[in-house]
Amino acid sequence: MTARVGVVTFPGSLDDGDAARAVRIAGAEPVRLWHGDPALHGVDAVVLPGGFSYGDYLRCGAIARFAPVMESIVDAARGGLPVLGICNGFQILCEAHLLPGALTRNQHLHFRNRDQVLRIETVGTAWTNAFQPGQEVLIPVKNGEGCYVADAATLDQLEAEGRVVARYLGGNPNGSQRDIAAITNEAGNVVGIMPHPEHAVEELTGPSLDGLGFFTSALKHLVGAPA
């Protein structure tokens, strides 16, 4: 049976279309979810896409966190539902306390938009099990508020528990502490990533096909293949 992967659209989401396309190219059925509808329509996993939900008012992701669909997603994520938050989706996961820390204004204050090399640090998550440990991937990054911060104890804990999922290589685009580009929760089912794997799934439009691995990982995870 084809896995069904939900992609949420908030007011101001930009990359929901690309995320749904990535899900389809990976071999799953994308299911569009609406911010105002708490129903998850029986999806097996969820992607929170990039963009500027609610205009980034107050703080990025702060208002999206209270959307009806998010209450269902937070509950389901605590029960093990694989959830990937990309860019604005990562910010929403932090605001919803599914992931620790916060994303703040890029240290140099510039919006950064470029192809970025990442090193996959942890393959034991629902979204990275298709990669090799230490694998380098090329994926677009595009953000104004992508600087990952957390207190030293939280950062040490993330490192010690192998929850830093990916790091920036060849230059940190936003000042993130310890070059962190992606992290996961304790269970490994929730991953937040600042760069955009959904923009690197086709030769025509992406710098590589490396982004596809995140989506095929979720499918592998759902059929119970060992990570």
Partner: protein
């Protein structure tokens, strides 16, 4: 009717690049005696009835501030001290 004012500031240990950018612009105004600038956010809340500081604190903690990176203070001010009524 008094309003509740919530001031939200980045925690001291969190880098404030906006504040730094402003501080770096001050020499262009001929100002050279400013050591640092920090930028925060002021939110004014008007309740339909009596102002409720505990409720305001809950709103600030859950929505207006992110406790991971920000601190907030909550206080009552008279209506004529708030931005909405200033001319």
């Amino acid at each position: 009717m008094p309003r509740v004012v919530v001031d939200v500031m980045l925690k001291p240990e969190i880098l404030d690049p906006q504040g730094q950018a402003v501080a770096n612009a001050l020499p262009r105004l001929g100002v050279s005696d400013v050591a640092s600038v920090r930028i925060g956010r002021r939110i004014e809340i008007e309740f339909t009835g009596e102002p409720d500081l505990d409720r305001a604190r809950e709103i600030a903690d859950k929505l207006l501030a992110n406790p991971v990176i920000e601190d907030f203070t909550v206080r009552l001010v008279e209506a004529d001290e708030t931005a909405g009524t200033r001319s």
